[in-house]
């Protein structure tokens, strides 16, 4: 457990215990000091704990472990270990081109204004379907919208390998089309091997050294 979470939990429990004193002896709030204590315990600290907790939970919801905690996503987690440099998610995960602890979120967030909010709302929908609906079979899971190049360009834009890549510069129209999201990185026959979970049984896997 991250130290910050431990700190927030400890503070929440301490606050709850101190509020218990106010509940047991509300008469202590009649004095000036008691009023200040009541304000801290019944207003400031609960809001502070709640805000810190939301921040901690939001950070936790961005972890790879969080995404893969739904068993529907297990095959997608396995696909990160496919031993094939042409497999885009696996190559990014294994070579730390994305933070491995936040591999899913890094590529599947929305790098636009209100993108994080949009992604979190989608996440709430996923949780709803997972617990109260009928989750699709892993191979039937599809993106809501085609993958936007913006998510790739968030890191690759300006990188030498991208800007001066042989294939990218062979035709002067290619780079502008990629940057305008008119030529998809992942579905134009170039970097199109993504989460190939249909062929997991035939795949060779990388074993991470601990």
């Amino acid at each position: 457990m991250p130290p910050v979470t431990t700190l927030i939990v400890s503070l929440a429990l301490l606050t709850a215990a101190l509020i218990g004193v106010v509940v047991a002896r509300p008469s202590i709030t009649t004095t000036r000091g008691g009023k200040i204590l009541a304000f801290l315990l019944l207003f400031f600290l609960p809001i502070f704990c709640g805000a810190m907790g939301v921040s901690s939970k939001m950070a936790q919801s961005e972890t790879t472990a969080f995404c893969l905690s739904c068993h529907t996503m297990a095959d997608y987690g396995k696909s990160l270990y496919i031993d094939d440099p042409n497999h885009i998610p696996a190559a990014h995960f294994q070579n730390h081109r994305v933070p491995p602890q936040e591999a899913c979120y890094t590529c599947h967030t929305d790098y636009a204004m209100f993108g994080t909010l949009k992604v979190k709302l989608s996440g709430l929908r996923h949780v709803y379907i997972y617990y109260l609906g009928t989750p699709p079979a892993p191979q039937n899971i599809k993106l809501y919208q085609p993958f936007n190049n913006r998510e790739c360009l968030h890191c690759h834009l300006g990188a030498r390998s991208f800007e001066e890549g042989v294939v990218h510069t062979a035709d002067p129209a290619t780079l502008p089309a990629i940057k305008a999201n008119k030529l998809s990185c992942v579905s134009s026959g170039c970097h199109d091997v993504v989460h190939d979970i249909a062929h997991l049984n035939d795949a060779k896997f990388w074993k991470e050294a601990n």
Binding site: T5, L13, L42
Partner: protein, 67 residues
């Protein structure tokens, strides 16, 4: 023990709501399943919000001291 003073009674209600809300938030912070996030925000957040509102209402509805 429930107080007979209306102001103190409201403070006790606010306190109890906040205690339950804080305990739910603490448990949800330790629980890593996605459902914990929903419970954290929906139930814990609701209880904390209502608790704080009851506390604030108890302040504004307290009778003013004369003299």
């Amino acid at each position: 023990m429930a107080s007979t003073n209306p102001l103190e009674r409201r403070l006790q209600i606010a306190g109890m709501l906040l205690i339950v809300g804080l305990l739910i938030e603490a448990v949800c912070l330790l629980w890593k399943a996605p459902i914990a996030f929903i419970i954290f925000v929906a139930l814990g957040g609701l209880l904390l919000g209502v608790g704080v509102v009851v506390y604030l209402l108890s302040l504004v509805s307290a009778p003013a001291k004369s003299g």
